[in-house]
């Protein structure tokens, strides 16, 4: 069992005149993420004129404001108040969420080609990103690293970078968290649907573009669908939501190709189940909660 993380006082910073950045902690923890969720949910309910965007992030959050309508200093005062009143979730608080099966083909040919093109931007130009990550995390090989990634689910702790990109944090005790640096200099190219890892976070890149995360594999199913062709995108162009629980399941090339076919003919649907859990229990015993979530998903 982990010791609960004591959070430092929040740090309020002006991101120019249009943004307010609030750092809840420099380190990642579920406590910091849940506090950000609590404060940003409360801020949304206040519906303050001049607040344009509320963006919960991993261990911080950001608010975009129209300074012609709202003085950034007044918002800071409001947020300090919220931090004091709702900054801690009640112990019996229950989070209702979705658990989703997300297939991934690890060590695929497309991300491998990309990462080889950007070796000069990497810490270790001699191998692949998977080999590097396995070594610095003390795994005996790439196979055990992949096993560790796919064995326990992740919670979406932030959306951003580009539309629909989920930052995902694994529901395991801190000593089993996998951690890797981002590229020394970001790549200027990353294939669409790449599965990447940076810091303690895994992601699926929604579109082709720049990126700094280590590249481990490729998802056959999209997280972003501009044309909203797939049924899972009926409500919006991005699939993941903050608080979703995603399980990255290892698949082989045959299954990858089969799913690609379903995506192309418009019949693909994610396996999704409704679930709920108590954040306090998750923090105290992540293994127990993640076992229950996986049972719900594959029942």
């Amino acid at each position: 069992m982990d010791t609960p993380t004591e959070l430092p006082p929040a740090r309020y910073e002006y991101g120019g005149d249009e943004f307010l950045f609030v750092e809840l902690d420099q380190a990642m923890s579920l406590e910091a993420n849940f506090k950000g969720m609590a404060v940003t949910n409360a801020l949304r309910e206040l519906d303050i004129d001049g607040v344009i965007d509320i963006c919960p992030s991993n261990a911080s959050y950001m608010v975009r404001i129209d300074p012609d309508r709202l003085d950034p200093r007044e918002l800071v005062e409001e947020l300090r108040g919220l931090e004091a009143s709702v900054g801690e979730l009640p112990r019996d608080y229950v989070l209702h969420t979705r658990v989703v099966d997300v297939p991934v083909l690890f060590d695929d040919p497309w991300t491998r080609e990309t990462l080889m093109r950007f070796r000069d931007n990497h810490q270790d130009p001699s191998g692949t990103d998977l080999e590097y990550a396995a070594r610095i995390n003390g795994f005996d090989g790439v196979g055990s690293l992949i096993e560790a990634i796919s064995s326990a689910p992740y919670i979406v702790t932030m959306l951003g970078f580009v539309p629909g990109l989920p930052f995902c944090y694994q529901l395991v005790p801190k000593e089993r968290q996998i951690e890797v640096p981002k590229y020394v200099r970001p790549r200027t190219d990353t294939p669409e649907r790449s599965f990447g890892f940076g810091g303690a976070f895994s992601v699926v890149y929604p579109v082709r573009g720049a990126g700094g995360y280590q590249l481990f594999g490729m998802a056959p199913a999209p997280v972003f669908d501009l044309d909203q062709r797939l049924p899972d995108f009926a409500a919006g162009i991005v699939f993941p939501r903050a608080g979703d629980v995603l399980r990255y399941r290892t698949i082989d090339r045959a299954e990858f190709d089969r799913i690609r076919g379903q995506v192309e003919d418009g019949s693909f649907r994610y396996r999704i189940r409704e679930a709920s859990f108590e954040p306090a229990r998750l923090i105290a015993d992540p293994d127990a909660v993640n076992r229950e979530l996986l049972e719900v998903l594959y029942r």
């Binding site: 005149d17 990642m28 965007d53 950001m62 003085d71 959306l159 970078f161």
Partner: protein, 326 residues
């Protein structure tokens, strides 16, 4: 026919307005004109509201043929502007008619031209805006830059504007170098040593070829980070932080030697330490800086940023009043 025939698209010409606010939380940046002041002025000159669809052309202007009577205005970067090969004034409402062809020579100062047409470029509104966001192919003309032979739909022109009206010289921006970008230092600036922060502010940074609507990568100095045990979840590189939100205008420091200033098509978050944010008014200025030119970051505070913003709004009001005679 009420449209514009694109003879040549130029290098990177897109439809923009003042942007698409309200979707940052899913990772969608506002987009919109990089130089909001010049874009607003161009629209006002032809009798449009500032937030009307217009063209933003980077480095090389397009060649456009008109099919009906319109007023047009070109603002932003400096270039000679021609209609049917004859020079016309920039920052001025110019009448054009069917078969007239608008063209440009090379830019002599600035990086982005704004071309407004009375009635506006009437592409479909997507999530409240006509701005193009090319990374995901959203908005604008098919979500992309203009190509030869495109036809741009135009809206219905009002009757407010008059040909020949122009924005006085005193209200046109100047593009001296280095571009001075007022910056509120903060966010994760604690990652730099005192010397690192001083180097950041003292360096004349050169704009690399990786400079576009997403952001500008700069070179010219190497910044010293403080020694620390990296916090859990950040990654081991000294420039790594636990992934967080990036304000538009924020400056991040991958590797310590390649600052990136994020602009209107910004990535909305990521895991590199940020050290401050260029104030909203000076995003207009960096949007007019080009590869090979230099910029400097000048430390400022929130009060100055808010005052600069009010002054810009007042200049836009002055233009509006001068044109409408109110």
């Amino acid at each position: 026919m009420s449209d514009i025939r694109v003879h040549a698209g130029g290098l990177f010409t897109t439809v923009q307005d003042l942007g698409r606010p309200g979707h940052y939380r899913i990772g969608m940046p506002p987009s919109g004109a990089m130089d909001q002041y010049s874009a607003s002025a161009a629209n006002l000159l032809v009798g449009n509201e500032p937030n009307t669809g217009l063209l933003e052309a980077t480095y090389i202007g397009p060649t456009l043929e008109f099919t009906d009577h319109r007023l047009i205005a070109v603002t932003g970067a400096t270039a000679s502007v021609t209609v049917n090969g004859e020079p016309v004034e920039a920052w001025t409402a110019v009448p054009v008619g069917p078969s007239d062809v608008l063209g440009f020579s090379m830019l002599t100062a600035g990086a982005r031209l704004y071309i407004a047409v009375s009635g506006g470029i009437d592409v479909p509104v997507y999530l409240g805006s006509r701005s193009t966001y090319t990374l995901t192919g959203i908005g604008g003309f098919d979500g992309r830059k203009l190509a030869d032979a495109d036809r741009l739909p135009l809206g219905e022109a009002g009757t407010r504007a008059r040909a020949g009206h122009s924005v006085p010289e005193s209200l046109r921006p100047e593009f001296g170098t280095p571009a001075e970008l007022r910056t509120i230092i903060g966010l994760c600036s604690y990652r730099l040593t005192e010397r690192g922060l001083k180097t950041f502010l003292d360096t004349e940074w050169k704009i690399t070829k990786d400079a576009n609507r997403v952001g500008y990568r700069l070179r010219g100095g190497s910044l010293e980070f403080t020694d620390r045990a990296q916090p859990f979840g950040a990654g081991s590189d000294p420039a790594n932080v636990v992934d967080l939100g990036y304000p538009v205008g924020s400056i991040q420091l991958p590797g310590g030697d390649e600052p990136i200033v994020l602009l209107n098509d910004a990535v909305t978050g990521g895991g590199y330490a940020t050290t401050g944010t260029v104030i909203s008014v000076d995003r207009d200025r960096i949007g007019q800086a080009k590869t090979g030119e230099t910029v400097r970051f000048v430390e400022t505070d929130l009060d100055t940023a808010l005052t600069a913003r009010r002054e810009r709004a007042a200049r836009i009001d002055t233009i509006r009043e001068a044109l409408t005679g109110n």
